[in-house]
């Protein structure tokens, strides 16, 4: 069985599952944030259960419009805060404990291989990097699951992604996934699980795998999943989760399609407006004038990303007319970046350092674009109007490309900086 269906079957009390079957399954973790939890809580309360199914398995993170940008967002957070207190939700992240949810939860040791995680956030699929079945849902499904601990699932068909070779300088997990979305299209994996296999994965860090799994949804996938290798076991041990190595098994029902990615020839990718599937090698991206560069988000707000940005920015200055915003994704990433001296490099380069927030990625706050402005961004979506005005543009890239582009003021391959 595909790893995704194997996990689903186990949580549904089934020996096996065929693609397409509908099952009700017990979930291990239910997640929501400040923009999706309020609706979920309203639905939860309509059920009148008086308690959440497990106070240790509901996670609430106030990360999207925080630190609160206005009264409406403050009211939403106050509503979620009251709920968390009233129902004794153990994993409630507020104030200085807030990280961007999908950067935060793995660091907090909340994600275990083989677990079934649902979240009212489409990028919940991030956790597949650690061998979990993780997928996004709407607030009503999540509100119901907060009460019942269950949700219905359609068992997914699988697409096999075979990764071989070794990463080139300045390429990483972001380039793997942008290239893959470019190949599949934004709906090429709808309802499917993306099962990442192959000896090339050993060369992709856990941070890079979290980036790749994070954007599985941008190809329409239900989830993306990796096996658990020694590197993953060591990462999990470092956050207090005991795990054993487990490779992905072949799916006896076969794969809808199989794709090969050769890291030996994978160049840094840039997704042009207005779809993540518009991926081209950085050298083929148009030399447009940029107004902003954003480095952070649930896609690229981890330590590897912060270090890559610093490596490019060390001793360099952001181009006149470009605003570089760097967003360490969690309190741990923030502190470590500071301790490693990365903040000095950022500040010397002329960057703004933001507290952990989803802010600009979804056009919320902390870096909104005006009409006609263009940004390069390590975030995950470049839809029309995503980061601000509907006549603005977003180009997606990895952190090294976003940093190099901030330095030159146009889309730039970091390998070409003098």
């Amino acid at each position: 069985m595909s790893q995704s269906r194997k996990i689903l079957a186990r949580h549904a009390g089934r020996e096996s599952l065929k693609p397409g079957e509908l099952v009700e399954a017990s979930v291990d973790l239910v997640l929501a944030n400040d923009i999706t939890a309020p609706l979920a809580i309203e639905e939860f309360e309509k059920l009148g259960r008086g308690k959440v199914f497990d106070t240790g398995k509901v996670v609430l993170v106030l990360d999207h419009f925080t630190p609160n940008r206005d009264i409406a967002s403050a009211e939403q957070c106050a509503f979620v805060r009251r709920f968390a207190r009233q129902y004794s939700v153990e994993h409630f992240y507020d104030g200085g404990e807030v990280g961007i949810e999908h950067v935060l939860l793995p660091e907090e040791g909340l994600i275990a291989p083989g677990s079934l995680v649902i979240g009212a956030d489409s990028h919940t699929c991030t956790y597949g990097a650690l061998g979990a079945f993780a997928t996004g849902m709407g607030s009503t499904d999540v509100g119901a699951a907060m009460a019942t601990g269950k949700a219905w699932f359609r068992a997914p068909e699988a697409i096999k992604v075979n990764v071989t070779g070794k990463l080139r300088p300045w390429s990483g997990g972001k380039d793997v996934i942008l290239y893959l979305i470019g190949r599949l299209g934004v709906d090429g994996a709808t309802y499917h699980s993306l099962e990442f296999v192959g000896d090339g994965i050993a060369d992709i860090s856990v941070d890079g795998r979290l980036t790749a799994a994070n954007m599985a949804i941008e190809a329409g996938a239900k989830n993306g999943i990796f096996g658990v290798d020694l590197q993953a076991v060591e990462y999990l041990a470092s956050v207090g989760v005991a795990a054993e190595e487990q490779a992905l098994e072949p799916d006896e029902y076969g794969y809808t399609s199989e794709l090969d990615i050769d890291l030996d020839v994978l160049e840094p990718q840039v997704a042009l407006p207005h779809l993540p599937s518009n991926a081209v090698p950085v050298g083929e991206a148009p030399k447009v004038k940029l107004d902003q560069s954003v480095i952070g988000s649930c896609t690229n707000g981890r330590m590897e990303d912060m270090r890559l940005a610093a490596e490019v920015l060390r001793g360099r200055k952001v181009a006149t007319g470009v605003r570089l915003i760097i967003i360490p994704g969690s309190p741990r990433v923030y502190r470590k970046s500071m301790e490693e001296g990365l903040f000095d490099i950022y500040l010397d380069a002329g960057a703004v350092i933001s507290p952990p927030t989803c802010g600009p990625c979804l056009g919320g706050h902390m870096g909104i674009l005006a009409a006609g402005e263009r940004a390069i961004s390590t975030t995950n979506r470049n839809f029309t109007g995503r980061m601000g005005h509907r006549e603005s543009e977003v180009y997606l890239s990895n952190p090294a490309v976003a940093a190099a582009s901030a330095v030159t003021g146009t889309i730039t391959d970091p390998g070409e900086l003098s």
Binding site: L22, Q76, M137, G363, R381, F383, G385
Partner: protein, 166 residues
Amino acid sequence: MEQFQGRVWLLGDNLDTDVICPGRLLDAPIEEIAEHALESVRPEFRAEVRPGDVIVAGGNFGCGSSREQAPQVLKAMGISCVVAESFGRIFFRSAIAIGLPVLACKDVAGAFADGDTASIDVEKASVTNVAGGAVMSGERLSPEMLEIITRGGILELLKEKTGGAQ
């Protein structure tokens, strides 16, 4: 389940949830989101949409964010049914969960012009252009999905199953 007959809003491919409900409005009440729903592709939508209208769209409708405000706002504005060539799966799932009928039907966008009248039978998964044209067959929803929609959403079904408050 009832059948729907309504005026068609014809939309294109890959219409994402940021377009249906801009991210900046995710702390706003549904009435305020409605002021801006679909504004970047159909600025007249707010003023001209009527209760009972249907959306007919190309592939991957509702892709992107999990924000349930997207199906919520369409339902609140009176859209009776969304028929698309395919759906982003979270939108599809959420629409069912809140009792907004959805139907996937291959090549449906090419069978309608904006403003045509569509007749839709969700249970039979059939779609017809009332002005003429063959009956198109979409993908049937499972009995479980149909039941959720018929009850008006998953909450209503759960309440019924558990007898409400415990």
